[in-house]
């Protein structure tokens, strides 16, 4: 019987790796980025990102010096951009683990070309997110109170508060994501070590590769560890954003208290995470010439996931609105009417058009395989998901139960600088990653090339078995 796993063209299936991708060309394409001097574009991007990071440092320093009053938060809007940014960044940090853990368990082999990239992004996004709970407590030097450290003052965190669950959920997530990312990196770090000519470089990558030799036993342990970490991370993907949603949903505030919040937040997080991966991937693959590794097939599949998760988010919006009416609670209904037609209607409709309407373009194959369209939509989704958190947080707060205390939130310059500053932090870390770490999981992508399957015997190769090695190894660029 012939090898059944070759893509069937008549079913619209295409190979996972692009034309001409071979073991050798893969290693070359990925490792070269870390070996050659950084291109000028990298330096320009890095310096601008670093200057944004500087702005963040100044904004936060000013905040520490002066106090939380430098932000626009004030009665009745006590939570505003700080928490919006926190939830937005945490959400972006979901794609990495979803791709590396959930898609791994579902045997979605296309994930191999994007997982390294997405996992790195996850870690940096979580770092950006962690800035906000750290600084919004006001007296930052007491931030360690969030941890349940034994204290002779008998001061314990309130374990019944979802805010403390958040601390546990996010720190667990950060730890496991980092471990997962690092474990996946080991074989590729060894590749960099073996290719290194400079002794210092060899030492550093050698130490990081933990003595990897590529032995059969190493691979066996590696695969086992990867599977266990994937199984551990999968519930984490769901739990982190569920716990974040508890921050709101455990309250009795109209617009915050909805039982659908946990899965709805998870869907939204995956949605925004994929959008961010897409934005960055489109730029990176063009700049570094990775088009044969991250093919149109990958991009199209990511767009489909965005369509699914965007529609799930739309379903949740619909359920919230329907139950707000069906529940017959006047305050709840007022809150939703106020979102759609009140002073923040502009934010609400930005959210709806970016999150629910724009991904619907991906129903059409022509549009979901068009790079300009997907680039614009991925940015639109990120804007929309930021607005979703803003709408949930601010519109539920700004019209309090007492009309006399109604207000309208306006951000200050410090709010804006802090937010843009975290983008600087994110991109600084991300550019350093591109420069020094193999941005694609070389070993894993090799694993999905057809020739890595021991049963792979293409029909045409039978005749000429000894020359089965493709000759197009150097075809890349």
């Amino acid at each position: 019987m012939s090898y059944p796993y070759l893509p069937k063209k008549e079913l619209g299936e295409v190979p996972l790796a692009g034309e001409g991708a071979t073991f050798r060309s893969l290693t070359e394409a990925v490792a070269r980025v870390t070996e050659n001097p950084a291109p000028r574009g990298w330096w320009i991007a890095f310096l601008s990102a670093a200057s944004f990071l500087g702005v963040m440092t100044i904004a936060i320093g000013y905040l520490f010096w002066t106090g939380i009053g430098v932000w626009g938060n004030n009665a009745p809007v006590y939570w505003a951009w700080d928490i919006t940014n926190f939830v937005w960044w945490i959400g972006i940090g979901h794609a990495g683990t979803l791709i590396s853990a959930v898609l791994f368990l579902f045997r979605q082999k296309w994930r191999t070309s994007i997982n390294r990239f997405a996992e790195a992004m996850t870690i940096f996004a979580v770092i950006c997110a962690l800035v906000f709970p750290g600084i919004h407590v006001g007296r930052t030097w007491y931030a360690y109170y969030m941890l349940p450290l034994p204290s002779e003052m008998q001061m314990w965190p309130n374990f019944k508060s979802p805010l403390i669950w958040d601390v546990f959920a996010v720190s667990t997530y950060a730890t496991v994501s980092t471990l997962f990312w690092y474990v996946g990196l080991i074989p590729d770090l060894a590749t960099l070590r073996d290719r290194a000519r400079n002794p210092l470089r060899k030492k550093i990558y050698g130490a990081l590769a933990l003595g990897w030799r590529g032995a059969n036993r190493h691979w066996q342990n590696y695969e086992r560890a990867y599977l266990i970490l994937a199984a551990l991370s999968t519930p984490l993907v769901l739990s982190v954003h569920s716990v974040v949603s508890f921050d709101f949903a455990t309250s009795v505030l109209p617009g915050w208290h909805a039982t659908i919040f946990p899965p709805y937040f998870v869907a939204g997080a995956v949605f925004s995470g994929f959008a961010m991966v897409m934005t960055l991937m489109l730029i990176t693959r063009a700049v570094y010439g990775m088009r044969s590794i991250v093919t149109m097939k990958h991009l199209e599949l990511m767009n489909k996931i965005m369509l699914v998760t965007g529609s799930l988010v739309g379903y949740a919006y619909g359920m919230e609105f329907f139950i707000a009416w069906y529940g017959g609670n006047d305050y709840e209904l007022f809150c939703f009417k106020n979102r759609a037609f009140g002073p923040y209607a502009w934010a609400y409709w930005t959210m709806i058009s970016c999150n629910v309407i724009s991904p619907q373009l991906f129903w059409f194959k022509k549009l979901r395989t068009s790079i300009p369209v997907m680039f614009v939509v991925s940015i639109t989704i990120n804007i929309g998901m930021w607005f979703e958190r803003f709408v949930i947080i601010v519109t539920s707060l700004h019209r309090d139960f007492l009309p006399s205390s109604w207000g309208y939130f306006r951000p200050t310059l410090v709010d804006i600088f802090t937010y843009c500053g975290t983008l600087g932090l994110f991109f600084t870390a991300f550019l350093l990653f591109l420069r020094w770490v193999p941005m694609i999981a070389i070993a894993e992508v090799k694993g999905v090339l057809p020739e890595s399957d021991p049963h792979y015997h293409p029909e045409e190769a039978h005749a000429d078995h000894h020359h089965a090695e493709p000759v197009a190894a150097e075809a890349e660029e």
Binding site: A258, P262, Y315, A316, Y326, G328
Partner: protein
Amino acid sequence: MAKEQLDVSKESFNLPASWGNVWKICAGLGLLGLAGAGFGMFSDPKRAAFSWLFGFYVFLAIALGSLFFVIVQRLVGAHWSVTVRRTAEFLASGLPVLAVLWVPILLLAPHLFPWLGDHGHGGGHDTPHVVGQLEIVPAAHAAQHGDAPKPADHAAPAKAPAAAGGHDAKGGSHGAATAGDAAHAGHGALGDPHDLEHAELMEKKKPYLNKSFFMIRAVIYLAIWSLLGSMFFAFSAREDREKGVAWTLKAQRWAPVSMILFAFSLTFAAFDWLMSLDPAWPSTIFGVNIFSAAVVSALATMIVVTMALRGSAAYAKAVNTEHYHDLGKLLIGFVCFWAYISFSQFMLIWYAALPEETPFFHKRWDVSIWSQVSLALIVGHFVFPFFFLLSRNVKRNLGMLRLGALFILVMHVVDMYWFVMPNVAYNTGIDPNGFAPSWMDAAALIAVGGIYFGFVFYRMTKYPLIPVGDPRLARSLAFQNA
């Protein structure tokens, strides 16, 4: 790895001869159950209505979960599942039968849904005698357990109904008999400010909760399901004969739209037929909750049914350990999903403790022995299956996996019972103790199950048990878990 390759063209994948009459047995049992349930509907229509809704939803969940399985496999173009997909197609193709079996719900709806009853217009509240009886419920329960402080609340006919909090915090719920109701029952239920509030609430919901719209929606859901179940079956069955890829491509093209129709119809049907049993109670996650139960039950059913058919040697090779391993993984995954969704709903309602939301769990915890049923669900529908199915060895041991799946199916029945039956006491007042299983529950379960599976097994006599013409069949046969 020396697995024998199966030559599909030479083997027969028809139902083993010993199974040829199983559909008759099922149908016979079903008719017997139907006779019993029908007798119940005449002798005690109030109680029979709930029994039928329960029996109906047990199998509706299985059929809808199977429909989801079929659509999702088509949507993603999966190949591992091709051989077992046919079983799900058989199960989903029974949806038109369930559409017919829905008719008793239509006829008995006024007994089920307080907002639909004759007494329900405007007021939407129970008749006074029911209120009086309901009052007994928590008190009797408390007394039974020697729980001293609580009955005291009830003993004193509360001056302010709203203050009857704590144990009896039923707030704005329909049928929420606060301690005051008993006292007021004598001078008309509508004299109570609480009832006025409730009547106002029902009035607000009238644009959705009314007879004609309810029927229109039901017809739409049942039409969508019957259509989708038959359509995806037909795509696959046509391919058995015609080979090629045309029908696979067609199924893949229809899958996305079908998924959207499926999601909304399942959600709103759950709102209409289960959530509105307590018309005052809203939960945004309820559709997802029923969805999770449906998928769990469908996967368990697929495991049990495919194992039963392993008498045929060719079939046993086509649906082998590798496929069971994957079905087992999905099963444990969705058991966790069910727990996640159920927990989210419970935790958020418990934490916020809003009076319009807590009655749902109040009925399932503070009344009679419902707390034990709830605990049984936590242990039996999550804790035990989770640890049982965790091991790779169990998922690859067919006997063990079947045991787990059977157990989950039993818990699925309990789950549906848990959704429907706590409302009996509140909506009808015929079970003042709050927990009174009836022989009609069993009759309805056998009636719906027998007729539904009779149809499914009858179809199995007519079509191959695996999609022999599927272009991805070879991959499914060669499939191995790494």
